[in-house]
């Protein structure tokens, strides 16, 4: 596939080097801070589960209690395991319940020996959680071996979004039978701003279903059944995004989700979550994904719903380069990078289709080993469903011509409703037609040397480099504050969840990070 754009490898190297320089300060920030959600993720891996009568997870109650007593800067692991030892409680969830009742007071170990003992206990308990994650990963490998991978690229990715896990399950199974390789369960509109992960099976989401450990488990089990029936491993996706991204990553690892929406800036830009909170949560969640063998999907497609897809094309490239840098830094490998981009150019624009090809091919050639997630038209979809299905067909064709790895299937009703059963069927038929009839057309697609497509790609890449230079000079946080991405202005000192961030004290200890960075 590579080589159609005749990109200069030196230019590409420059772009990557600039992205690393632009990203490094943010990595440094992430390495020196923690958040309530990172700490809760540690405790979830260490075995805290369940919720109180109001649905607030015990893990939240526990972290809140520790924080109230000793702050977050030391990490919660040591105070918690120190308390386990001193109170003699040996079930960590029970400790959380007692803490919630005000029956435990947390402090830091006063001796080196106590401290070492607490760290050791924490390491061992959190390690048990990571072992579950490892087991799940092996299980996935085994099942893929047994059932097989999809026969074709791109993988076909379909959304279910009823809000009710028990409606979602049969719809997801039907979608898989109809050809979906990946099922994503969209989340309820409100969840990303909840600073806790809801518990149990849920039936009352708005335009999506809550991401809960139990919902994950139910859907994964259902899709395992369907995978067996179909002789093809059907992947499951959810969102490690929003205020609880680290915890959701941990739950995803423990319940064998296969892909997670996980972007370095999405929460900042589109949920107005504080930038620092996001970057800290991001790094941890990616470390977990790396360990769990989960493919991440980044969210550059979203920028093109608020910014213009032609004008802002280079911001997508910049963000992809940053996402790649952050991902590699967190330990993710190239095959795990479902970098996002989208077919969002105004279809009335002359040459719109060739512009889409240029952009999609640029992403393909910049990231030859990443699966790339190709997102369908949304912004320029209207209630004209006949036109909508046509646009989706041309979107599918770009996917096939440029070798995208994951094809999110567009719905003709995009501007109307969350997908109906029949919408998915019409959409899959569309994908099948295009892949079946024109899936190998890329062999005959050779952008004219120096022609429209090549020039456009080169131009976008040079704009991306210019922007990266500017970011290196000013800082990424400033760029975000200025509305560089998606025209959303998000200053570093504003946004939700900032109060959940703490700077590491010198003795900060996190057994999970420790294990993941080994």
């Amino acid at each position: 596939m590579a080589g159609k754009l005749d990109l200069d490898p030196r230019t590409v190297r420059t772009a990557r080097r600039l992205a690393a320089r632009a990203g490094q300060p943010v990595v440094d920030l992430a390495r020196s801070h923690t958040t309530v959600s990172v700490e809760r993720a540690v405790l979830r891996l260490a075995g805290v589960h369940g919720a109180d009568q109001d649905g607030i997870p015990w893990v939240n109650r526990l972290v809140d209690a520790v924080r109230a007593d000793v702050g977050l800067g030391h990490g919660v692991a040591v105070p918690v395991f120190h308390a386990m030892r001193s109170t003699g409680v040996d079930d960590i969830t029970v400790l959380a319940q007692k803490a919630a009742a005000g029956a435990v007071r947390f402090d830091l170990p006063s001796t080196r020996a106590e401290s070492t003992a607490a760290r050791r206990a924490a390491r061992s308990q959190a390690g048990a959680g990571l072992k579950v994650v490892d087991r799940r990963r092996r299980e996935r490998d085994r099942l893929i071996k047994r059932f097989g991978d999809p026969r074709q690229r791109p993988w076909i990715y379909l959304i279910v979004a009823t809000g009710d896990i028990y409606e979602d399950i049969p719809q997801a199974q039907a979608a898989a039978r109809a050809g979906a390789d990946v099922i994503a369960v969209i989340r309820s509109t409100g969840q990303s701003l909840l600073d806790y992960v809801p518990e149990g099976a849920t039936r009352e989401g708005f335009a999506g279903t809550y991401a809960t450990q139990e919902n994950f488990r139910l859907m994964r089990a259902a899709l395992d059944e369907t995978s067996k029936e179909l002789g093809r491993y059907v992947r499951l996706t959810n969102y490690a995004s929003g205020l609880c991204m680290p915890e959701i990553a941990a739950l995803a690892g423990m319940e064998r989700l296969d892909m997670m929406l996980n972007d370095s800036m999405y929460g900042i830009l589109f949920r107005d979550i504080n930038p620092i909170r996001t970057f800290v949560d991001q790094r941890f969640s990616r470390q977990v994904h790396a360990r769990a063998g989960i493919i991440i999907n980044t969210g550059e497609d979203n920028y093109l719903t608020t910014a213009d897809a032609v004008e802002a094309a280079h911001t997508v490239t910049v963000s992809q380069l940053l996402n790649e840098f952050f991902a590699h830094e967190a330990g993710l490998e190239d095959w795990q990078l479902g970098l996002g981009h989208a077919f969002e150019i105004n279809p009335d624009l002359p040459e719109s289709f060739r512009l889409e090809l240029a952009h999609a091919l640029l992403a393909r050639e910049l990231f030859p080993d990443a699966p790339l997630k190709w997102m369908p038209p949304t912004k320029h979809m209207t209630g004209d469903v006949f036109r909508g299905n046509l646009l989706d067909g041309f979107f599918n064709l770009v996917g096939a011509l440029t070798g995208q790895g994951i094809l999110l299937v567009g719905m003709m009703t995009e501007a109307v409703v969350t997908p109906w059963l029949s919408d998915r069927d019409v959409a899959l038929q569309n994908v099948r037609y295009v892949l079946n009839g024109a899936g190998s057309l890329h062999e005959d697609f050779v952008p004219a040397p120096g022609g429209f497509i090549q020039s456009r790609a080169h131009h976008v890449l040079s704009e991306a480099i210019e922007l990266l230079e500017k970011i290196v000079d000013d800082s990424l946080l400033d760029a975000i504050a200025d509305g560089t991405f998606g025209i959303m202005k998000r200053p570093a000192d504003r946004g939700k969840g900032l109060d959940g961030v703490a700077k590491h004290d010198e003795d900060y200890y996190n057994p999970v990070t420790e294990a993941l960075e080994q």
Binding site: A161, T162, D164, E167, Q171, T382, G383, D384, V385, F386, T413, A415, V416, V417, T418, P419, W420, L421
Partner: protein
């Protein structure tokens, strides 16, 4: 349960999609008119999601919404296959046994309709959907008159060939051409031949309503997706079942 409702993405939601043109330019009133129509059709709420003016005086609308009608599947009238589906061997055997001669079939596409693919699919050896056509059946003697056959020619040929059954195809439906032609055909047979001498009249085509046989004066209607075997089995049922001869 026999009561069902349309399904968008949740059981019972009643959701449907509708599109149409109104002969008015696009403005708020036109949109209101579109919603009024949807309401009259039982959609409530009716969500007007697309409106586009075409030329000066027409607007195209797309409406989504919930219909409040219930569908009672017990009330559905269908022409169920009320005869067994036979293999070619069984068909041939039955004809031999009961008629003791070959059964004569005359087929044509009548009126100005020249769409022969459908009737050819039923009659010609080649058949359709993996099934051979009626010519393949040794006990059927098939005359395929082709397209644009006039009713008098058809009646004449049916008489000549002593047709047991006449198979007529009609594909063009604009201005109800298929209904008019079929009625003219059945009337001509009624006029030309006394009861008992009259061949079995069968019409087919993609846009017929199977329930209209009586209304059109024919014995049976076949529609979309018919296969030759179904037709052969019906011929046996109607002509070579019961009594030894017709």
């Amino acid at each position: 349960m026999s009561i069902i409702r349309p399904y968008g993405d949740t059981t019972g939601d009643g959701m449907v999609q509708l599109s149409f043109t109104l002969p008015v330019p696009h403005d708020k009133r036109a949109e209101g008119a579109a919603v009024q129509l949807a309401n009259k059709m039982g959609m409530d709420p009716a969500l007007l999601v697309h409106a586009k003016q075409m030329g000066d005086g027409f607007t195209f609308f797309v409406v989504y919404g919930k219909v409040n009608h219930l569908v009672d599947t017990d009330q559905v009238q269908v022409v169920e296959r009320d005869f067994p589906l036979l293999s070619a061997t069984e068909v041939n055997a039955a004809i031999k046994r009961r008629l003791r001669r070959r059964l004569n079939v005359v087929g044509a596409c009548i009126g100005t309709d020249a769409h022969t693919v459908g009737i050819d699919a039923i009659l010609n050896l080649k058949g359709i959907a993996g099934e051979k056509g009626l010519e393949y059946y040794s006990e059927l003697s098939v005359t395929n008159m082709g397209a644009q056959v006039s009713v008098p020619e058809l009646v004449e040929t049916a008489r000549e060939r002593k047709a047991d059954a006449v198979l007529v195809s009609q594909v063009v439906t604009q201005r109800d051409a298929h209904l008019q032609n079929t009625r003219a055909m059945s009337a001509a047979f009624r006029e030309a031949l006394p009861v008992g001498k009259r061949p079995l009249l069968i019409v087919g085509g993609p846009r017929f309503d199977e329930l209209m046989a009586d209304d059109l004066g024919v014995d049976r209607i076949f529609t979309r997706g018919t296969t030759p075997r179904e037709v052969a089995s019906y011929l046996v049922h109607a002509l070579a079942a019961g009594s030894p001869t017709k």
